[in-house]
């Protein structure tokens, strides 16, 4: 400590100032995030249907949760979310690793590279969803035209009316938008690896593959884990992309859990049931987030850099 050992009064004054500085932001977080979250939990224990106001808001315990776990549409939505998360995150991590390794090489055109990483990340998800929907839309969309031209398809496919094929443009759009971001996180991890380790490995006669397998991969693990958790968190909450691309359709065959929750709340106006679904999404996300926070734990407690 540069200022020597501070007296008790100084410490007290510093703590008081700190709480004074923290309080406006903390108040905002309590009012707009913590209090609503508690309200969601309370709401989920009640029957609250805005279409049937005469029923009031009676306490029904865990009935909403019991209903959710027996609700086929909820189970399907959970399945869609897991499918979407598993496929898109796997593809993004694999492609992101390759890209990060490539970007880490001394290479001209870093500015162009950074631009093509940042712009898809920065644009609204709604827009990237609509771009990919447009490319796959109708008989004469560019995707169909290209696939027919190279001979991959005999005739154009109407992608969005097939319960299985509708996922293809959705996952492509997600991969397109977020792989660059994954690559960026992994690139930061790569740049932290001490280069002398590679020299040592080379002197020992390690091949490029063995260098990757025994130096790069183990040291990149933390960055891969962070990217993995971030992407899984995001994929689990997917809403914008599917809302604009398929609307959950055809039928409800691409409806993820966040969209089903949204529909229960604002379309069917079932606030009690919708809140129970919200709590379930929250619990799952929170569990994932806790893993992440534990992982970064050392960084949080470190008070001075």
């Amino acid at each position: 400590m540069p200022r020597g050992d501070p007296g008790y009064g100084v410490e007290r004054r510093e703590a008081r100032l700190a709480w004074w500085m923290v309080s406006p932001a903390l108040a905002a977080i309590v009012v707009v995030a913590l209090f609503p979250l508690a309200w969601t939990v309370w709401e989920s224990l009640h029957l609250h249907d805005l279409r049937m106001p005469w029923l009031g808001r009676p306490f029904i315990g865990l009935d909403n949760y019991l209903e959710a776990f027996g609700d086929p549409r909820f189970q399907a939505a959970l399945g869609h979310t897991l499918l979407f998360a598993a496929v898109s995150v796997t593809v993004e991590l694999a492609l992101g690793t390759v890209l990060a390794l490539a970007m880490n090489r001394a290479f001209t055109g870093r500015a162009v590279m950074r631009a093509s990483v940042l712009v898809p990340w920065a644009m609204p998800t709604v827009v990237s969803g609509l771009l990919w929907k447009f490319m796959f839309d109708g008989d004469a969309g560019i995707a169909n035209a290209a696939l027919v031209k190279v001979g991959a398809l005999n005739e154009p496919i109407v992608w969005f009316i097939r319960t299985d094929l509708a996922w293809v443009p959705v996952i492509l759009a997600d991969v397109w938008k977020t792989t660059p971001f994954v690559a960026l996180l992994l690139l930061a991890g790569l740049q932290n690896i001490d280069r002398s380790l590679y020299e040592a490995a080379r002197i020992d006669g390690a091949s490029a593959w063995r260098q990757f397998r025994f130096v790069t991969l183990p040291l990149l693990r933390p960055a891969i884990l962070v990217a993995l958790i971030f992407r899984t968190l995001d994929a689990f909450r997917v809403f914008d992309l599917i809302y604009v691309m398929t609307g959950g359709g055809p039928g409800t065959s691409t409806e993820p859990i966040a969209l089903y929750t949204f529909n229960s709340l604002l379309q069917y106006l079932r606030f009690g049931y919708g809140s129970a679904l919200s709590v379930i999404v929250f619990v799952v996300t929170f569990a994932l987030a806790m893993i992440y926070i534990r992982y970064l734990g050392s960084g949080i407690t470190e008070t001075r850099a």
Binding site: E11, A106, F107, T125, L130, F134, F236, T261, S278
Partner: protein
């Protein structure tokens, strides 16, 4: 970076070139299509369009009043950003530099709130805003936006303040300046680039937000840009030309902001490792 371009660096050109091409093509296609007359839009697509027209942009702004969602987005994202950066800077400075009990749990809380799924607070926020008659108003969007923008700003700024050398403000305090004065006159000017980066990131997240804007607005008069684009409907068919024109208009401001500050944004993103 070492300068070993040589043969070991050459294979790297392929994925990077692929990335640039894969990123650029959908943009090119959207821009080209937004300038293509409606009648040609769904006839056998041509990589290089034959005729370019501004019809879709004209319809969008003249008939559809696309100025309104742009104004709404600017007001909502701008106010959210200003408020969060001001209030968040105070909070972040205390968390980065001052010693007090409860700091570590507070940091954990802020990080946890930054990972809240938005959908988990839609129902109470809707009921709350309805009770306060704030549905379909600017405050009715700005307040919900604080749920993600405030923790994001605080978290990024804590990282930025920690990176600044403590000696300068300590010297100012030895010279008799109070903690707050040192903060205002020494720390803030030093942290300006970091504050700007944080403001840009907060603005981008607010500009792009969709779920709250969809849930808490009722009509075109308060819809933000992403909602307005997503809900564009034609009489008989999907008005793709206008949707693409709107998409370009929605992307240009954030793309320019991010590109202008790209180096710093990349640092901010990877250091704070904020959500994608």
């Amino acid at each position: 970076m070492t300068g070993e371009v040589g043969e070991r660096g050459r294979w790297a050109a392929i994925p990077v070139f692929g990335l640039i091409l894969a990123t650029a093509f959908p943009f090119y296609w959207a821009i080209a299509s937004s300038l293509t007359p409606e009648s040609q839009l769904f006839r056998a697509p041509r990589l290089v369009p034959r005729t370019l027209v501004l019809d879709h942009y004209r319809t969008l702004f003249v008939e559809r009043d696309f100025w309104v969602p742009i104004r709404n987005s600017l007001v909502v994202a701008g106010t959210t950003t200003l408020f969060c950066v001001t209030v968040g800077a105070l909070c972040a400075y205390a968390l980065a530099r001052l010693r007090f009990r409860g700091k570590v749990p507070l940091l954990g809380l802020i990080l946890a709130v930054s990972m809240f799924p938005q959908i988990s607070v839609v129902s109470p926020l809707y009921l709350l805003l309805r009770a306060l008659h704030l549905i379909n108003t600017y405050p009715g969007l700005i307040l919900p936006y604080l749920t993600f923008a405030m923790p994001l700003t605080v978290w990024l700024l804590v990282g930025i303040f920690r990176q600044l050398p403590a000696e300068l403000e300590e010297a100012a305090m030895v010279d008799g300046a109070s903690r707050l004065r040192a903060f205002r006159e020494v720390v803030i000017p030093l942290a300006l680039p970091g504050l700007a980066t944080t403001a840009i990131l907060t603005f981008v997240y607010s500009w792009n937000e969709f779920l709250f804007a969809l849930s808490f607005t009722l009509g075109p008069e308060r819809q933000t840009v992403p909602v307005a684009i997503a809900l564009l409907r034609g009489q008989y068919q999907v008005p793709w030309g206008q949707i693409l024109a709107g998409s370009i208009v929605a992307t240009v401001p954030v793309a320019l902001l991010v590109l202008a500050f790209q180096r710093r944004i990349v640092q901010g993103l990877t250091a704070g490792a904020v959500k994608g």
